[in-house]
């Protein structure tokens, strides 16, 4: 007997362990019964109380996902209040009856009024908890964060899940200084202290199907209420799918759902929603317009807005032309649009030309001359003519295999680029917000000289006014 036990000791011990653990495994409830899977969080402040809204995935084996709209699918919005984030989460636990699980939380939407005081007060919980395992995107809500959370839950094909996914996909098309928690804190603790965050709103959708062109006009009309009318039109042309920066609003013919932002990187404004028909976002917006017969539905809108945040507070709202400038400067943004007007040459007559930035290479370099800092942008743009708008077309203008980026057109393109950047620079100087990390650059690469330069200034925050910005642009057409 003992010999048998000795011979098979490993098998016996293994069997005992397995038998011992089996009851724990078989009778263990599913993790989803103990943990609520939260996909996005919204934070608002009412008086002194914090309202936490969360999109929770409700596992539903029977019903098809997203049917019926209005949050009846597999995503539900739950709210809880508290004096601070921790107590709000505790109350959320009581409401849900489960522990909030942030492992799949990929976006944190903050009400704009939270930035009146230092917003890090509200983000601190997410930085310290080990519950949040991913680098969630930080989004600013124009009005109420809960509205955006509810609206994104109400949208079909699990919009709540892909809210940040779309922002992530749009990284190439946005200003793409990553607006996630990590980068926010990196910028917060950097010497420059400034970062740009995208702004989303929730508003009524356009009218039902068949009226998408009117939708675009309505949305344009809506956006005209803001100060950024011209800028939003421009940004529509440039980079339509930039939910992070907010640039490219009005994509998809004005149906500014967050889902549309990922699908219209190359579409110009005024295009119908059906133009991107194969994209899931367009499908969702189409389905919405079909199903929402008569009753306007709320959608998450990207109106091409962004805000500049310094030391946790909003300094100013970034208008569309400056967003375009940031897109141009950003090394991660690969796409965009440049529009030039009143072009007259052999091919065009008083034409408005829209160029797509097919490829972009930006190098920034800083150096000192006679103790003064010079910050240089070097652009290498490959542009493709995308749209021509003029009264009388001639056959020559229809050429495809032709480099139109020459002569007057090239000069105008350079002017347009310089204008966008100079608007941004002037704004930054005026507001003392270093959105292009001039301080960080010089601090890293010319540490001693830069520190000496800063010491020599009366107002150390006003260093941008003493930096000379230069721009070298090399543009060529893509055949």
């Amino acid at each position: 007997m003992l010999n048998i036990l000795k011979k098979f000791k490993i098998i016996i011990i293994f069997s005992l362990i397995t038998i011992g653990i089996i009851p724990f495994s078989l009778y263990k409830p599913a993790e989803t019964e103990k943990v609520a899977v939260i996909t996005s969080i919204g934070i608002d402040k009412n008086n002194e109380e914090i309202e936490l809204s969360a999109n929770v995935i409700v596992p539903n084996s029977g019903a098809s996902g997203g049917s019926g709209g209005g949050g009846d699918g597999t995503v539900k919005t739950v709210s809880a209040k508290g004096n601070d984030i921790t107590s709000a989460f505790s109350n959320l636990t009581l409401i849900l009856g489960k522990m909030p699980g942030l492992s799949h939380c990929d976006s944190i939407v903050l009400n704009k009024n939270l930035f009146e005081e230092n917003v890090t007060k509200y983000l601190d919980y997410f930085v310290r908890t080990n519950n949040l395992t991913s680098n969630a995107t930080v989004i600013v809500a124009e009005n109420k964060a809960s509205e955006i959370i509810e609206t994104s839950a109400a949208q079909k094909d699990l919009r709540a899940v892909s809210l940040s996914e779309v922002l992530t996909l749009s990284d190439e098309y946005s200003i793409a200084s990553n607006s996630n928690v990590d980068s926010f804190y990196t910028n917060y603790f950097s010497a420059a202290g400034a970062c740009v965050l995208p702004v989303l709103t929730a508003g009524e959708s356009n009218k039902p199907s068949g009226q998408t062109k009117e939708n675009s006009q309505n949305t344009s009309a809506q956006s005209s209420k803001t100060e950024n009318l011209q800028n939003s039109e421009e940004s529509n042309l440039q980079s339509s799918s930039t939910p992070k920066s907010g640039a490219g609003g009005g994509s998809e013919g004005g149906l500014n759902s967050s889902s549309s932002s990922g699908s219209n990187s190359s579409s110009s404004s005024g295009s119908d929603s059906s133009s991107g028909g194969s994209e899931p976002s367009t499908q969702s917006s189409q389905t919405q317009s079909e199903s929402g017969s008569g009753a306007p539905q709320k959608i998450v809108k990207n109106e091409g807005k962004a805000v500049v945040v310094k030391n946790g507070k909003i300094v100013y709202d970034l208008p569309g032309v400056e967003v375009q400038g940031l897109n141009l400067i950003s090394s991660t943004t690969k796409k965009g649009h440049i529009k030039i007007e009143d072009v007259t040459n052999d091919f065009f007559e008083n034409a408005t030309l829209n160029f797509e930035i097919f490829n972009k290479d930006v190098k920034t370099m800083g150096y000192f001359i006679n103790g003064f800092p010079i910050f240089n942008f070097k652009f290498n743009l490959v542009l493709k003519l995308e749209e021509v708008s003029m009264n009388n077309f001639n056959i020559e203008a229809m050429k495809i295999a032709h480099n139109f980026v020459t002569g007057e057109i090239k000069e105008k393109i350079n002017e347009s680029v310089q204008k966008s950047i100079s608007e941004l620079i002037n704004s930054s100087k005026k507001n003392k917000t270093d959105t292009f990390k001039v301080y960080d650059y010089f601090y890293k690469y010319h540490n001693t000289e830069w520190l000496n330069f800063i010491k020599s200034l009366e107002d150390k925050d006003d260093y941008l006014n003493y930096v000379t910005f230069t721009c070298d642009i090399k543009s060529q057409g893509k055949i």
């Binding site: 490993i10 653990i21 103990k34 310290r128 395992t133 991913s134 996914e165 990590d182």
Partner: protein, 428 residues
């Protein structure tokens, strides 16, 4: 026959030892002192370790048949050797406990929302107990199998986040002065001293002409990979590295690439689990091995049970709190103890080796049974082959004391005589 390990297996053990403790919690600890310059203290520590590794490897090659205990016993006496071994036991045991707690955190934060303490610790105890019953060669063979996977996991961990790393975050260097760097080296000294495993392999490595090269190759590879990891960590997180406690999982999860690599990341996590289990196993195997050497237990179960009991006590006392464990191993007195140990141990071996060189060199026959039987075999064709039979049992002779004929010695002598007689008969 004493089962010796090959140079490759020894190199793999060293590789495992070098990567242990350096990829989970300690990057954030380094960052607490050195901020974005955290790769400098790591570099300093690795260079010092490399120096001592070379010293110890040279001692091993010079005295291939002497164990650590024998070396110190012959040079300084039994008491010194036992005290040194007990210090080594403490070192390996504490390292094992830290790895257990790091693994628990890894399970809790990366794999599960929450994990039942018992479900984690009980199977782990069985696994550690099983590994403690094995010898170094068995574990070494397993590491040979796991080696390519380990390398793959390391490369994945370093290369995948590379696209997100902004190496300008490493600038400016020495922003907070050099004091932070040296503080990091001091307070994180427990992560170094990886050459200590070599003390357990002394006299147990199958030394061949290229053994030194093989072992050093593994050491250098591991050092380069560890350094590269810390550079990438600093590139991604910069000064905020102190906020990221589980570097191994956070460095990948905070990169955009993870959304697309998804499933591949899980393979990486699984391989890292194997690495962590082996790290734990090796540390506790070293601990139980030391207990066997000190107390001369006949059965391997006894030191295994003692080690597991101590582990249980430690785990219950610390209640699997990683913060508490880290605060102990990074406390000032413990760091002093660690550094003194890391310097004195190789120094003691070096002095002992010098003492036993030249006229006092310990020969193979002094270590093994002095009775050597040489017998000849003649086959049908008339060719003769000769073989030397060496007694399988080895016993230590004190350098200055006279040999005493114990019963074992008598038995060995008699068996050797019988064999000698047999060979004479055969020759006849």
């Amino acid at each position: 026959m004493i089962k010796k390990i090959s140079a490759m297996q020894c190199g793999l053990f060293l590789f495992l030892s070098i990567i242990s403790l350096k990829f989970l919690v300690f990057p954030s600890i380094f960052s607490q002192y050195a901020y974005r310059d955290l790769y400098f203290p790591v570099l300093i520590g690795l260079i010092i370790d490399l120096f001592f590794t070379i010293v110890v490897v040279n001692i091993i090659i010079k005295n291939p048949h002497l164990t650590f205990k024998e070396l110190l016993t012959r040079a300084f006496g039994k008491a010194f050797a036992k005290i040194a071994l007990m210090f080594l036991f403490v070192y390996f045991f504490v390292k094992g406990v830290v790895i257990v707690k790091e693994t628990h955190n890894y399970f809790n934060e990366t794999l599960f929302e929450s994990i039942n303490w018992f479900l984690f610790i009980i199977p782990l105890f069985f696994l550690m107990g099983f590994m403690m019953l094995k010898n170094f060669r068995a574990i070494g063979r397993s590491l040979q199998f796991l080696g390519p996977l380990m390398l793959l996991a390391l490369l994945f961990t370093i290369l995948i986040p590379l696209s997100e790393a902004d190496f300008s975050n490493l600038l400016p260097m020495f922003e907070n002065g050099a004091s932070g760097i040296f503080k990091a080296v001091f307070f994180c000294s427990f992560t170094f001293g990886d050459y200590f495993v070599l003390f357990l392999f002394m006299g147990r490595i199958n030394i061949k002409p290229n053994s030194k090269k093989t072992i050093m190759w593994y050491v250098v590879c591991a050092d380069v990979l560890v350094f590269a990891f810390y550079v990438v960590f600093a590139g991604i997180f910069g000064n905020l590295g102190l906020n990221h406690s589980l570097a191994l999982s956070e460095i990948i999860m905070h990169t955009m690439v993870s959304t697309s690599t998804g499933s591949i990341n899980w393979i990486n996590i699984m391989i890292w689990l194997f690495i962590l289990f082996f790290e734990m196993g090796v540390m506790f195997l070293c601990s139980s091995n030391i207990l066997t050497q000190v107390f001369k237990f006949k059965s391997r179960y006894v030191p295994m049970l003692i080690t597991l009991s101590l582990l249980l006590l430690a785990v219950v006392y610390l209640y699997l709190s990683l913060i508490k464990t880290i605060s102990i191993v990074t406390s000032f007195p413990f760091c002093i103890f660690t550094i003194v140990l890391q310097v004195l141990m190789p120094l003691a071996c070096f002095v002992a080796s010098k003492k036993l060189s030249g006229k006092n060199k310990v020969t193979l026959s002094q270590v093994y049974n002095t009775k050597v039987v040489k017998y000849q075999l003649t086959n049908i064709s008339g060719t003769t082959t000769s073989k030397i039979f060496v007694s399988e049992k080895r016993f230590v002779k004190h350098f200055k004391t006279k040999t005493t004929k114990s019963a074992k010695t008598k038995k060995l002598n008699s068996s050797a005589k019988k064999l000698a007689n047999k060979s004479e008969v055969q020759n006849a």
